[in-house]
């Protein structure tokens, strides 16, 4: 199948194999537009954005970490903890900075454990995930509480006639693009992930890796703010699926878990594809259980199409 890959995209691209997922996504869109009347309705498209926005935020952070050969399993618990902090009885100008600061600390711990103490990213972020999840359940043992009305307003409603989730999505894309494809830091991410010694001469490898983990946590916290605004309360389990879903979305978009190969547009396509699958199958009345199977099968298919050199992780 690597021949097919070469036709769609030249070999040795730094952006990975994102054309096949794009084609799959386009086929999904066309198929859904033809088979269901509701798909192209304004309300459904807006729903699609609201569903995809938190996943896009988490996935951009996840991709930044994966680019430097890492993996962040703690994003889901950061999302949960963020909604917990926001639902505390305090004004938004206290809770939002507190949530972001907390996320930065979690990211810092992840980064320091991985770089300074050479703990494998899976183990490091797994244990930090346990600690953060414990904290989330301590702050808010079960779903409830109320989020400051300013945060709710930030997520629902419209600004200049544009639906707020759309604004969040565009903002996430712009920030993500600036970081990954528009800055020296982004270039360093690719160089570190590529693993060639020559590329990393003169690059502060450890510092950049720590920064990647901090960014990942902060993106997860932003997703947490979005979700807290949507449900107007806190929930210690709301983020559970985001660790797996974000890895799925990033992998679907052609980013290689070995690091150094990936792209923002690929990740966006991956998120879009996941949202499309969920949305489309809801419209077609496919049971939630079959949706899970299809999600896994698509992930397997796309992964099997990506040729790699290394065996294992």
């Amino acid at each position: 199948m690597s021949k097919v890959g070469r036709i769609f995209f030249p070999a040795n691209s730094r952006h990975g194999l994102w054309t096949i997922p794009l084609l799959v996504a386009i086929c999904c869109c066309v198929g859904l537009a033809i088979s269901t009347a509701d798909f192209v309705s304004r309300q459904n498209v807006l729903n699609l954005f609201a569903q995809a926005a938190p996943l896009i935020l988490v996935s951009i952070g996840q991709m930044i970490v994966i680019l430097v050969k890492g993996l962040d399993l703690s994003v889901g618990s950061v999302v949960s903890l963020t909604t917990g902090i926001l639902s505390l009885n305090a004004p938004f100008y206290v809770t939002v900075p507190a949530a972001m600061l907390n996320a930065a600390v979690v990211g810092l711990l992840n980064g320091v454990a991985v770089t300074r103490f050479r703990v494998h990213p899976i183990i490091a972020t797994l244990s930090i995930m346990g600690i953060t999840q414990g904290a989330a359940m301590f702050v808010r043992p079960s779903a409830g509480g109320t989020v400051a009305s300013e945060i709710v307003a930030l997520v629902s409603g419209e600004l200049f006639g544009i639906y707020m989730p759309v604004i969040w999505t565009i903002a996430a894309i712009l920030v993500g693009w600036k970081i990954v494809h528009g800055s020296r830091f982004g270039l360093h991410l690719f160089a570190i992930g590529g693993g060639e010694t020559a590329a990393t001469f003169g690059i502060a490898e450890q510092r950049n890796e720590v920064a990647a983990y901090v960014l990942s946590s902060c993106f997860a916290a932003a997703a947490g703010i979005f979700l807290a605004g949507r449900i107007a309360s806190g929930d210690p389990n709301i983020g559970t699926q985001y660790a797996v879903d974000s890895i799925t979305a990033v992998a679907l978009g052609g980013t290689q878990l070995a690091g150094g190969i990936g792209s923002l547009h690929g990740t966006l396509i991956g998120c879009g594809l996941l949202a499309l699958i969920a949305n489309g199958m809801n419209l077609l009345n496919v049971s939630a259980f079959v949706q899970t199977i299809v999600k896994g099968a698509i992930l397997l298919l796309v992964i099997a199409l990506q040729p790699r050199k290394n065996i294992g992780l």
């Binding site: 103490f117 703990v119 490091a124 930090i128 600690i131 797996v244 049971s287």
Partner: protein, 314 residues
């Protein structure tokens, strides 16, 4: 000087799980001396036997620089097969063989995709896990599963000289695994791939085939764990926390098996016992669920940091 440094090195070679286990045992002894009897401790050990058997498979894939996250899906599927009532008319042996076959088949798919197709093990096994969970939920279709056959329950409750049968089975399985890895050529292959896959390849080690075999054996172990897990509950369940998989990785790491370290069975074995004891100690002290998660995370992190520092000093 030499003797001191070699003594230090010997002390550092002890897996962190043994140290943690000793600390926990002393804590329990100080807090609740009356709980230190074989019958009570045996019952606690019995609870972690499924985790212990999953770890036997996990340590094999982790030492060959791979990982398997599909244990949850396999356990769910085997649990469904036994408790759904589909196989009620079947005798015990074919049911067990079918379940082991399921484990082998899933392990083979994992292995072929990871070893031959060279796809990322994290993603492949994650995807397989998603598919298996979806499949079970689709088959169950929201209905609660039925009863587990009584024979399973009877086997689970059996005791020899106050030691529960599942615990003895676990110890025997760990012994077989240890002997197998220590004495067979396959064990050497796993070791060499763990140390350096490239040099293993150039030394004539069949890297692809060994990785496939490791995943197949892991799949088999997960199926065995699933059988024990199913026997431990009277009624089937469609919910299994992903914490079993996460704990299996944690216990393996705690036992001193890290990506690229020789497969060692008894370190992770004690690591699993640590989890059993940790649960008991924290329940006695009265730590709630959030506190348990935090302590567990801290212990894994500290063990891994300890190992990271050690590998740096070497």
């Amino acid at each position: 000087m030499t003797s001191r440094s070699s003594l230090l090195r010997a002390a550092l070679r002890i897996p962190p799980s043994c140290v943690v286990f000793a600390v926990l045992l002393i804590t329990l002894w100080v807090l609740r001396p009356n709980m230190m009897n074989p019958a009570i401790l045996g019952t606690f050990a019995r609870q972690v036997v499924p985790l212990g058997i999953v770890v036997l498979g996990q340590l094999l894939v982790i030492s060959s620089r791979s990982i398997d996250l599909s244990a949850g899906g396999i356990i769910l599927l085997v649990n469904y097969l036994i408790s759904s009532g589909l196989l009620y008319s079947w005798p015990l042996l074919p049911i067990i063989l079918l379940c082991l076959g399921v484990g082998l088949a899933v392990g083979l798919v994992n292995g072929l995709l990871v070893g031959k197709r060279r796809a990322s093990a994290v993603i492949v096994t994650l995807a397989i896990n998603i598919v298996l969970i979806g499949l079970v939920e689709y088959l169950a279709n929201g209905k609660p599963p039925g009863d587990v056959p009584a024979e399973f329950r009877a086997l689970y409750n059996l005791r020899f000289w106050t030691i529960p049968a599942p615990v003895m089975f676990w110890i025997a399985l760990a012994g077989i695994m240890s002997a197998f890895l220590g004495a067979s050529v396959f064990g050497r292959f796993v070791w060499s791939i763990g140390s350096n896959p490239t040099s293993a390849h150039f030394s004539g080690v069949p890297v692809e085939r060994t990785v496939v075999a490791a995943h197949v054996i892991a799949g088999l172990m997960f199926a065995v764990a699933a059988l024990v897990q199913t026997s431990s509950i009277a009624v089937g369940s469609v919910r299994f926390g992903p914490e079993l998989v996460m704990n299996s990785i944690a216990a393996t790491i705690l036992g001193g098996v890290v990506f690229g370290r020789p497969a060692e069975v008894w370190g992770p074995f004690v690591g699993v016992l640590c989890f059993a004891l940790l649960f008991v100690v924290m329940t006695t002290i009265g730590v709630q669920e959030p506190g348990k998660l935090i302590v567990q995370g801290l212990i894994i992190l500290l063990a891994a940091i300890f190992y990271g520092l050690r590998s740096k000093s070497n």
